[in-house]
Symmetry: C2
Subunit: 279 residues, 2 copies
């Protein structure tokens, strides 16, 4: 994935500073969770895994843009991300805004120009990806998240924010994986439910790590959510409540996998990893 | 166009503040130059003008997003646009960033979900639009523009910036119009040249108006480019030089129209309008 992402940027005829800035944030790494989810889904359903790459590259570009914009002073105002300076701290705000805009725009080009898809597949993927990342998805979630700061919100509102802000892209990863594997409608429906649980598990663990996590491992200050009075699962449910909430979602996610015939697949292992991860 | 744009936003299930913010910038108006160019091109070539609308809506959404982001404090730091407060002044910076991100993302959905296009047409339009608005197009141009501030640049560098920053989207408008009208390759090639000239005429007149324009008509402070030491055509060529430079492009643009069999078409009138407009 890293190579594919950097190769794509390198093929572009763009200003040097834009190239450095986008590659900087791509190189900042991350777990590549979304591409992994797409691949494991496709693999579990006996699909041709070569087909996932353009969609996975596009998805990771969108994820990267969203981190760059979320870190901006007007948003979360973060100085570090994964142990490195955030994009706007390493470069400047204007460059960070434009690097984000560029990654977002070009992500759709990666799909639209991919050789491995026919036109119908491209249109399907772009429709789903704009839905997941646009105003009815991630962008809307980020806005609700900003509005929720300094406010007391219910667990339902918190889940709605995370469903949009994080869940939609994770969901796209799994849906694209099952679509490209040619899965039937029933399996795809069940896996969309699985994706919902995965998103919530991911987010609850994120919030838990913010309370108990190892700052050195995570490369950012733990307790930073508390600092800016964000609502989190531990703040709404307490730490123990958050942990048991997460466990119930892990059970539900595994039930979905069983129904989709994916019990014992690598997706099951990934579910445990996401629930227990320490960074 | 205004109605179609607002209708699209209204169909979306999105946070209230995101709806108000995107509609605010859409309502701020603008000349709708890009949709008009697309329509006049399609009409001049005897195409079915109904086909342009989703592409024109998408294009205008991208144009609107680019204005919102360009006005941000980290970019041009503008307080007014078309006589109204800029988006981030009316709302706040976070909302403006997200409104821009949202308009950009959903613009591709407008094309990908349009009933009037088949899958191949959607893919063609999305490929061309991402090229025009992405890192190799408008976003790259905006970055070069930021870098050029406070610097002496040559007329060639200035034209390269405008070609990317403004020209690419105008060019998309004309290319999409001729593509959707089913024009032949030769005509489309000539009209792409026409589009280049139109972009430069548009920009030179913009720069001229910044020196001699009526602040009340334009709804922004004239002389604002001078204030932040931006390179402009008048600053590089002098006012008379800029005017004669513009006239030579008007002649070349009209030659293209003649070659494309569009002499006397409404595109010719638009060329004069763009060259002589006072806002």
């Amino acid at each position: 994935m890293n190579q594919l992402l950097l190769q794509y940027i390198d093929t572009l005829n763009i200003p040097e500073r834009l190239k450095r800035s986008t590659k900087y944030s791509i190189n900042a790494g991350g777990k590549r969770l979304r591409p992994i989810l797409m691949r494991l889904t496709c693999e579990g359903l006996q699909g041709d895994c070569e087909k996932i790459y353009p969609a996975a590259v596009a998805l990771e570009m969108i994820h990267t843009y969203s981190l760059i914009h979320d870190d901006l002073p007007a948003m979360d105002d973060d100085m570090y991300r994964r142990g490195k300076l955030t994009n706007h701290r390493q470069f400047d705000e204007a460059t960070a805004i434009l690097a984000g805009d560029g990654l977002l725009t070009n992500s759709f080009q990666v799909i639209a120009s991919a050789n491995v898809y026919n036109a119908e597949e491209k249109v399907y993927l772009i429709n789903r990806l704009t839905e997941a990342s646009g105003m009815e998805g991630m962008v809307g979630g980020q806005l609700l998240d900003m509005e929720a700061e300094q406010q007391e919100i219910t667990i339902e509102q918190l889940e709605q924010i995370h469903r949009l802000k994080t869940g939609c892209l994770l969901s796209f990863a799994i849906d694209a994986g099952s679509y490209l594997a040619g899965a039937n409608d029933k399996t795809r429906f069940i896996l969309r439910q699985f994706a919902e649980y995965i998103g919530l598990i991911f987010q609850i663990q994120d919030d838990i790590l913010d309370v108990v996590g190892d700052q050195h491992l995570m490369g950012k200050a733990s307790g930073s959510d508390q600092g800016n009075s964000k609502s989190t699962y531990p703040s709404v449910l307490g730490l123990d409540g958050a942990i048991s909430h997460k466990k119930s979602y892990v059970n539900k996610a595994k039930q979905c996998l069983e129904q989709a015939g994916l019990k014992g697949s690598r997706l099951e292992g990934l579910t445990d990893y996401l629930s227990e991860r320490d960074l």
